[in-house]
Amino acid sequence: MAFGRSSRKKPLVEPVTLKILVAGGFGVGKTTLVGAVSEIRPLRTEEILSEAGRPVDDLHGVENKSTTTVAMDFGRITLRDDLVLYLFGTPGQDRFWFLWDELAQGALGAVVLADTRRLEESFAAIDYFERRGIPFTVAVNCFEGAQRFPAESVRGALDLDPEVELLMCDARDRESVKNVLVAVVEHALVLADRPAAPVPT
């Protein structure tokens, strides 16, 4: 069986691939954020899970259904021929947290996108990344019409560690999202430079 219509002339570039997760509540703008910087229209990939036995899954009415389909939106940024960054929007509903384990494996860092009208929807994501020691930055998506709060009061409401950066952003704006991503990687850099054992405070 012949693959390809022409023989290969030059060796293929094998890029180093990295991923940053974008987490947050349903409808907070995760896919918009991914789309603002991705060089491709955000793609959707689906994972079929057979985790129906999870206690939080409400299977009322579909008792025979033993699988769940979870969609993840993702985008790609080619930084160089040999360096590619993927952004993955985590599934919006908390009950799919178990999928994050796989997504989070090897992740460079994460953005927790928050909406000040529904801050409590960010708690699960913040807890998750704190517990796993994944570097993350909180980005407050400043929706038009949403009341703006001082960063300090949002920090307080989210009970963030002092070292976690909190930024205001516009998930539709490329420059704004770039700043958020740079903040995530800079935070990862600080953690990577630090001795392995975390210093108790």
């Binding site: 069986m1 012949a2 693959f3 390809g4 023989s7 290969r8 293929l12 570039v13 094998e14 890029p15 180093v16 691939t17 990295l18 991923k19 910087v37 793609l43 959707r44 990939t45 689906e46 994972e47 079929i48 579909v62 025979n64 259904k65 699988t67 389909t69 993840m72 993702f74 790609r76 940024i77 930084l79 160089r80 360096l83 590619v84 960054l85 993927y86 993955f88 796989e102 997504l103 494996q105 090897g106 460079l108 490329r174 770039k178 991503l181 740079v182 990687v185 800079e186 990862a188 850099l189 953690l191 990577a192 430079d193």
Partner: protein, 137 residues
């Protein structure tokens, strides 16, 4: 009333197997002949990149491959693609793509790059390059 209660539970019980949810669940895994895990040692990461081997150009090498196998190799032949991109491009669940790519790895038609190992942060110099790359976008 008993009739009505039965109606509530579904007037056509036999059709429960053929509802909308059944379709996408069953059919993609027919492509993998029912297998849900690949033969490869490591679970393929979403951002693992599939790179065709020179052997993939060799005609008549393997007659057992499905059209989906062939399409995966063709999609990667110009620019290697990640598992996630292949799944989105082929409109197949990630699990199915993992199995199919696993077959291709076993046949030595492709190899797969391993991303940064779990629980290890990428190299500091790579992080600096990412920051510079993002700023330059």
């Amino acid at each position: 009333m008993t009739d009505a209660e039965q109606q509530d539970q579904g007037p056509h019980p036999a059709q429960h197997w053929f509802d909308d949810d059944a379709g996408p669940v069953v059919r993609p895994y027919a492509m993998t002949r029912g297998r849900t895990s690949a033969a490869t040692r490591h679970r393929l990461d979403l951002i693992a990149v599939v790179v065709p081997e020179p052997a993939a150009d060799d005609p008549g090498r393997d007659q057992t491959l499905s059209p989906e196998h062939v399409e995966i190799v063709e999609r990667c032949s110009d620019t290697p693609q990640s598992i996630a991109e292949l799944a989105a491009g082929l409109d197949l669940p990630v699990g199915v793509v993992r199995v199919l790519v696993g077959d291709l790895v076993e046949d030595e038609l492709v190899h797969v790059t391993r991303p940064v190992p779990p629980a290890e942060l990428p190299d500091v110099s790579i992080l600096r390059e990412v920051i510079n790359g993002l700023r330059a976008l």
